[in-house]
Symmetry: C2
Subunit: 494 residues, 2 copies
């Protein structure tokens, strides 16, 4: 007899096929699609989304979930899988189709408007659009809140960083808020008299690509199950068996593309390392942005911003671009670890970055707790920016409140995942390096195998079978905290 | 009130979205997908196919079709559209799911086995697989025959060349069978003493690509709605708003890739020229392989194998690859119009090609009329090959009965479309050139606009609103016949 749980597994396996198709079509849109197909593509993807929603949310699935939970006798993985199934069901079922359609349309418009108005620094015209998106997002939060028994803003956080909420994030961020401003002062003071040479281009794109592919191969990226391409914004998408990562190249400067490739390779390795037997089930995929970012940032920040990495990669850089004074391991390392408070989150160094996120997190909390209105965001932003980074964004909306796509896209609650990811990465790497003190010597020679094996065994193999904090307890002996990140900053910069 | 026909239009529009997704995913599989994702991709596409089949074949759609036909009062286009809807429904509905699954599996296996056994010339081991595929295809033909009220083999022909059947194909092919053997004799006699120089490579792939793109632009291919890539076998897929054409390059020889690009561009221009307001409806798409091939072959054979084309393109060729004796318009034209009977259909010149198709057509007729068994195919093939082209394929299965993928793929009834396409192309071009005698002078200068405008108005704009013979009557004043093709061969070669 086929049990209710087995029936659910078959349904979710089919949903995984649809999801794979959706992801490749999204990749194709960003990487391959000729421009004129944009409207048709959006319509076709909307048709597919509706079909997926219908397949997921049904009376039949609801009954199967109830029956499967009563069935009992499931293995650890199956039981975790059932929990994820239910969560996915609740996340989708609590939103009426009309609301989904409305917010899809409104966020699409708001993003289009944002692209234009940001460059014009035009907050006033942007405001009514953002207000509409916020109002709808608040309704989503309210409905999710009822369905998941969480506070509204927590219900949003739960989508991007399952297991985290205002309470534990507040605690974790408190440590950062306390430590970072002092660290910035000490580090900028120390770096003041450093002499850094800027590499002079052009750096041919074909050569940048060869360099990137070589680093990916060293990192154990599996090209039988993945590829590297170009898109306007770098991303990682696809499926563990078909990982698509992208970067963008700039002829005048090669470090951004290389760093982007390292970051996306971190995502890609995580995907490729997920247990094959579970990839068509919710427990086998990583929906937690915090966890996924932890793996990309572990590679990008812990590994690829270190001196031993540059000791390994500089000869390859010289091989591609020839020799020049600026292309030494020491100089490139200094360049990549330069600390300087600035307006833009995505350009921020790893020391100031968390403050950008904390600022947004605190504003979002206030928004959802009705302590601030959308129209007050610029003032609120300016105040926090002055407090945290000593910079004024008064009347400078494009470098302030209008800089990110997240809010126009309705992705409130997303930002904390970026910093949680950095903290997870630091905490994991601290444990790894303690038991693998020889790793830096290996890294100098471009050997990533011991790190890859360790991540495979301790992180990738678990997929989503454990909540993030349980996984961290198991691997590092502690729940998530900011200590290891702060120690990492001290060690690298002071 | 929404009429039954309007409801059907909405359903078919949704099916068009799925079809678009299916086509891009198929393109991605051939062009982009890393090898290791093959099995997952096949499964995902099977899930999608099943969903499409379910969406198309339903009691609801059957009732809507009946009601829409009674509704009456439809415009010419709507009425043609409704006919196509019904045809698509009948084609799909007459096959039980089990049969579809069986034949999908059996043809997949047979193609895999064929790939291996062809290179080993191993007919005996291949035979049982082909027998199983033929048996299932016969069942398909029988069911289609009942549903469409056509003879079984005609029901298969109808899928690839709607409007054509054994009766009218026999008549058309009779003219070719009579004329071609003599033509081959005269032409090979005439070409005997021609001196042709072989261009000597290598021809860098990047340069071949530049050349191809330049020709595509001259031909008015719209890159806002299409692109050119590389795959193992050249094809054209996608959607009128998102046309994906591919070619393959060989460093030692550039004419094959160029010719392939011209052929696929012909398909692509047809797609891009289809009326935008109908592209999500059956009447707006070209399911007829005969019609689609007519447009690719018109470009490839009528235009791109002509001397004026080489007069235009040779300077571009020299620009890319430098000067050499073999790279003159005259020599390249001689090279591309060399006639020589051979074993392999896909390598055949345009004079001998129709005999390759007639051979297959006659064998298929005998198979479906029980006049020959699958085990007798090699003998049957050898006999016809000796009759038509004076070549023996005795014990040479790989260059004989095992050379094409069509039969292992279950695509019986497909071959005639290739030759019908050539005849349609010749007949259309004869009409065009009569009213545009200046075209060859334009072509010499790389100007395709007058041809493009004429095809746009007379062919592309009609999409599938008219049966092929009605369209030909309207444009050329005659139903399809072999006269213009034979005249074309005489004019070009004698």
């Amino acid at each position: 007899m086929i049990t209710p749980y087995q029936k659910l597994k078959a349904i979710f396996a089919e949903l995984a096929h649809y999801n794979y198709i959706q992801r490749i079509m999204t990749w194709d849109e960003a990487v391959m699609m000729p421009e004129g197909a944009g409207v048709l593509r959006a319509e076709a993807l909307a048709t597919l989304s509706t079909a997926i929603q219908k397949k997921l949310v049904s009376k039949k699935n609801k009954n199967l979930l109830t029956a499967a939970k009563q069935q009992g006798n499931l293995s650890f993985w199956d039981s975790a899988n059932l929990n994820w199934m239910e969560k996915k069901y609740l996340h989708a079922a609590c939103l009426p189709t009309k609301l989904v359609e409305k917010i899809t349309k409104e966020t699409l418009t708001c993003q289009q408007v944002w692209r234009k108005l940001r460059s014009q620094n035009h907050w006033r015209e942007f405001l009514p659009h953002l207000k509409r998106v916020f109002k709808l997002t608040k309704e989503v939060a309210k409905r999710r809140s009822d369905a998941l028994q969480l506070q509204p803003y927590d219900a949003l956080l739960d989508e991007y960083a399952p297991g985290f909420n205002q309470k534990n994030i507040d605690e974790i961020f408190a440590g950062l808020k306390k430590a970072i401003p002092d660290l910035i002062n000490q580090i900028t003071q120390k770096q003041k008299n450093e002499h850094i040479k800027t590499p002079s281009g052009p750096f041919a794109i074909e050569k940048q690509k060869k360099l990137g592919l070589s680093v990916m191969r060293a990192m154990q990226f599996d090209f039988q199950h993945g590829r590297l391409d170009v898109s306007h914004h770098p991303f990682c998408d696809g499926n563990p068996l078909d990982v698509r990562i992208t970067t963008r190249y700039n002829e005048n400067e090669f470090l951004s593309a290389l760093n982007g490739i390292c970051h996306e390779t971190g995502h890609g390795l995580y995907e490729q390392g997920l247990p094959r037997e579970w990839i068509d089930q919710p427990v086998g995929r990583i929906d937690s942005m915090a966890m996924h970012e932890s793996q990309s940032l572990l590679i990008e920040m812990q590994i690829c911003c270190s001196l031993p990495f540059y000791q390994y990669v500089t000869p390859e850089i010289q091989h591609q671009f020839g020799q020049q004074d600026a292309l030494t391991a020491d100089n490139l390392y200094k360049l990549i670890t330069r600390v300087q408070p600035g307006f833009i989150r995505v350009d921020a160094d790893e020391v100031t970055y968390p403050l950008h996120v904390i600022l947004r997190y605190e504003i979002e909390k206030k928004l959802f707790n009705d302590e601030v209105l959308v129209e007050d965001l610029p003032a609120c932003w300016d105040e926090l920016m002055q407090n945290y980074l000593g910079l004024s964004t008064k009347n400078n909306y494009q470098d302030g409140v209008m800089q990110d796509v997240h809010w126009p896209a309705g992705a409130f609650g997303y930002f904390p995942a970026y910093t949680l990811g950095r903290l997870i990465a630091a905490q994991l790497f601290a444990t790894f390096i303690q038991s693998h003190p020889q790793f830096y010597a290996e890294l100098k020679q471009g050997k990533f195998q011991s790190l890859h094996n360790w991540l495979q065994k301790n992180i990738y193999a678990h997929a989503a079978s454990l909540p993030t904090n349980d996984l961290l307890m198991k691997v590092t002996g502690e729940p998530l905290n900011s200590v290891h990140f702060i120690q990492h900053i001290q060690k690298r910069y002071l």
